[in-house]
Symmetry: C2
Subunit: 254 residues, 2 copies
DNA sequence: CGTTAGTTTGATGGTCCTCAAGCACTGTGG
DNA sequence: CCACAGTGCTTGAGGACCATCAAACTAACG
């Protein structure tokens, strides 16, 4: 149970509500079907009927959609504690592909597992709905990135968001984090060409705001970066770790 | 109860699964708190703590995020049967504003209502999770619009998506639909300037693919439009008859 | 009949894409 | 030990797409 208490998934869910022993047990049970995926082997592919979902235990993954013209848009980057393909599990067919960014360890979750868990712990249904909602909030914020921010702002915002998400599960800090993404992947996530992504990173580095190099993101001047990006982490709804400007502190529900 | 059976919300949920009488009753109860909002009065505003959610009974609404520089990005357009702000109800603060597009009628839903409903009908929790998932799929598809499609493709794709969604709730057809949006709103949804949105609409009209005029969208040549947009409605999860089942809880099948 | 909201068109220029090429590092096999 | 290929990063040049600025036009409305 100490293992469960420190798992990234439990850390994340605890940002929603303190979990009871029973709920922790249901979560533990939900994660019983462990699997490993290596680089190059998709977990879910676009169009797959009745896809399962996964909880990412370690490593990074990403979800993307391909177009007929070969264009690729990464919809979400997932870090430990995140669901993979949760929003596909109830759709008839997966609307996107999920692939590992590095070798990963996951727990497989079938639709029936969810249904069973919901019956056992209605509050867990709320918690999972929260996770999906938070995910949608992140996609929505990316939409603002692509629709209304310049390439530099987008990049800054995205790197800050990843930092905040990683901090929540204990894998990042205000000064930086390990980031296994390539510049191609960053570009596909931000709707840029890889060439331009590279130029933008250079600019951020030369202006001493953030450095992306050798699989590591360093925040050289986090404050200015936040200002440039217009980054307000409220949408991540994780009052715990570092945003303290939020004081909405009404206590948990029934 | 035939009133409930023909409400847009029930029509939509029926695309997920055939609903039992008990579930219909729980849904009916969920919609008991009716309200009206007129143009100019927001339902939810960005930053609002503990916002409620709504079910849109009639009229259109949209959700948007503002930036400090005055830029606006519409994240979602909602039509009858859709939830409003559902993904905010579990976050501690609303991450976006919801405003009417025309005068609307809604049913207000509080967090506790959801919790209660989940306890009464676990399958309804699945259905609502489905609705949220579908919503995320739509936002993701919009992300592809903004990231990887040209302005014309975006516009075509968006107008087709709206048509499909409206058809599901009985307010649209393959030839067109009533659309109360202004070109400014279209532009804000698609990450374009209103000037360019106008040019794009003109192009689509002159090439005889679709006409947007006087509050009505007409598909002049739907086939070519679908080709141009690369529109594949699979992500809406509403195609064909609906042989759905969760667990062994159903009778008929393919 | 002035005001306002929405639509339409023109002109100019910036952001970012595309094409192209070179560099650095790693692993592979002769 | 040295090609050689593969992957990822970096930089340059030219041009397309779309934003911005500006202004005219229409319809609704008091």
């Amino acid at each position: 149970m100490r293992a469960a208490n420190s798992s990234p998934f439990v850390l994340k869910m605890s940002a929603f509500a303190a979990l009871s022993c029973k709920e922790l047990a249901v979560i533990e049970r939900l994660q019983r079907r462990r699997r490993v995926f290596v680089l190059g082997h998709d977990l879910v592919h676009q169009g797959q009927p009745e896809p399962p979902a996964y909880i990412l235990l370690s490593g990074w993954a990403n979800s993307y959609k391909m177009q007929s013209d070969g264009g690729r848009q990464i919809v979400d980057i997932q870090v430990p504690g995140d669901f993979l393909g949760l929003h596909s599990v109830l759709l008839h067919r997966a609307d996107h592909t999920v692939e590992p960014v590095v070798d990963i360890e996951v727990a497989e979750i079938k639709k029936e597992d969810l249904f069973e868990a919901f019956g056992r712990a209605p509050r867990l249904a709320m918690a999972i709905l929260w996770a999906v909602s938070r995910n949608e909030a992140m996609v929505a914020e990316r939409l603002v990135d692509l629709g209304r921010r310049t390439a530099v702002e987008r990049m800054a915002h995205f790197l800050l968001e990843l930092g905040a998400r990683l901090t929540l599960v204990g894998e990042g800090s205000a000064t930086g984090y390990a980031c296994p993404l390539t510049q191609y992947q960053l570009a596909d996530a931000l709707g840029l060409s890889s060439v331009h992504a590279n130029r933008v990173l250079r600019q951020l580095r030369m202006e001493k705001m953030t450095t992306f190099r050798d699989g590591y993101v360093t925040f050289d001047d986090r404050e200015r970066l936040v200002g440039l990006a217009g980054f307000d982490p409220a949408y991540l709804d994780q009052d715990g770790p570092f945003p303290r400007q939020i004081q909405g502190n009404d206590k948990d529900k029934s």
